[in-house]
């Protein structure tokens, strides 16, 4: 479980903090991006075992970010969890089409978050 890195992308600092704390308590390493554009610069070829991304963000939204990240060879198979307040079916379908593996509606429960991460994270 240790030495696995997870990228958190959310424009809300408090959400990033809560997600980060939840993941760090389980032994994961965490890097953060404040929107899609920032997250793409944070990726920069580094090894990331899972991505957790918000949908509605300034500069670059989550769906666009995931689509762009999935085009990069290093992140083609990196699992993505969309973490958003959106529960609209069309948005979910867009997330799935972009390559997301799960759609989690905020507010999230830490135990469920960790269970989903454990289920999807790359070995």
């Amino acid at each position: 479980m240790s030495n696995k890195t997870i990228l958190i992308v959310d424009d809300s600092i408090s959400i990033r903090q809560v997600v980060s704390m939840t993941l760090k308590s389980a032994g994961y390493d965490v890097i953060e991006g404040c929107d899609g554009r920032d997250a793409l610069t944070k990726l920069d070829g580094r090894k990331v075992h899972l991505i957790i991304s918000d949908v509605n963000m300034p500069n670059m939204d989550g769906i666009t970010f995931v689509t762009a990240a999935k085009k990069l060879p290093a992140y083609r198979f990196t699992p993505v969890i969309m973490l958003t307040t959106e529960s609209d079916a069309a948005k979910k379908a867009a997330g799935q089409a972009a390559g997301a593996k799960a759609w989690m509606v905020k507010p999230f429960q830490p135990a469920q978050m960790l269970a989903a991460v454990s289920k999807l994270i790359m070995p």
Partner: protein, 391 residues
Amino acid sequence: MEHASSSPSLVDFTFIPALLGACGTGAILFVGGVTPTTLALSATQVVLAAGLGFWQLRRAQARHAERAADQAVSQSPASGRDEALEALCVAVLPVWSEQIEAARAHTEQEIVSLTSRFAELADRIHSVAGADHGGGDRLVNLMASSQNQLDGILHSLREALSSKGALLDEVNGLAGLTEQLKSMAKDVGDVARQTNLLALNAAIEAARAGEAGRGFAVVADEVRKLSTLSGDTGQKIGETVETVNGAIARTLELSQLHAERDTGTLNQSGETIEQVIGAFGGTTRDVVERSDALADNAAAVGGAIAEVLVALQFQDRVSQMLGHIRDDQARLERLVIDRRALAASGQPLPTLDTRGWLAELARTYTMAEQVAVHHGKRPAAAAAESDITFF
């Protein structure tokens, strides 16, 4: 209110100055007669009167145009417009938006600060609980190990004492052997006495035999000397055995005394060790119980903090809702400004599409509760578990 008014005509505004000019010209010619001077003055009078009339006409036309524009901008029953309300909207909507943004930013800042502090607390509790984890077990194990070692020492001491007892039994056995030695020494004395008597009888018989028994008398004398010597030796053996027997008896007495003292000391040590171990065990149990209680409390506090952090996620939802209201107010402000501009330029105002506006607002929603509120319903209570869909 609609004001029906016609545009001012040239006749309306030049008639009175022209009339006054004509009267003035007549008066000048009547008083001064027809002279070049009066004719010049009269001409000047007419030109001034005509100019005054034209100026008044332009001014009236300008006023009319302004009034028409004002009428278009001001209350118009046909369009339902209210300039004062529009002005109020244009003035107050940005203020509302600023206030909402300020409240949103303030809440976000404080929630971020709270989240950081709670996260720090959770980290500390986690590290403390982790550091203390197993401390109670280690203490209990240490106590058990100490008790085993001390019991081992007591066992060794008891074994040593038991060996000492076996040794004393052996020495006691020696005491029995010395009695046999004493008996044997007595037997040697008895044999010597019997031999002495026998030698004496042999000497008597040798004397009776005369010259023939002279040699035998010498032998009998030597035998008597030997029997005397044997008797002395037997007596010395008896005395020596008696001495050894006394020494053994004293050794046994001292050894038994020491053995009793050692047994007492050992028993006392055992009791002391049991007391110490018992007291240590009691304290250890207290420490372990307190440690367990602390660990339980730390886990409970950690769990409560995790719940608080989950609850603090409301800030993200509130921020989004306020952001949508702020954006829609800005949209309304732009609409009011655009319609005022259209009205001021005399262009017809498009019909307001209230349903379309609300539909556009609804499209910006990201949360089910926003949609529920939009349709006048109560927002559903927060679910106990996250809504998660795996693709």
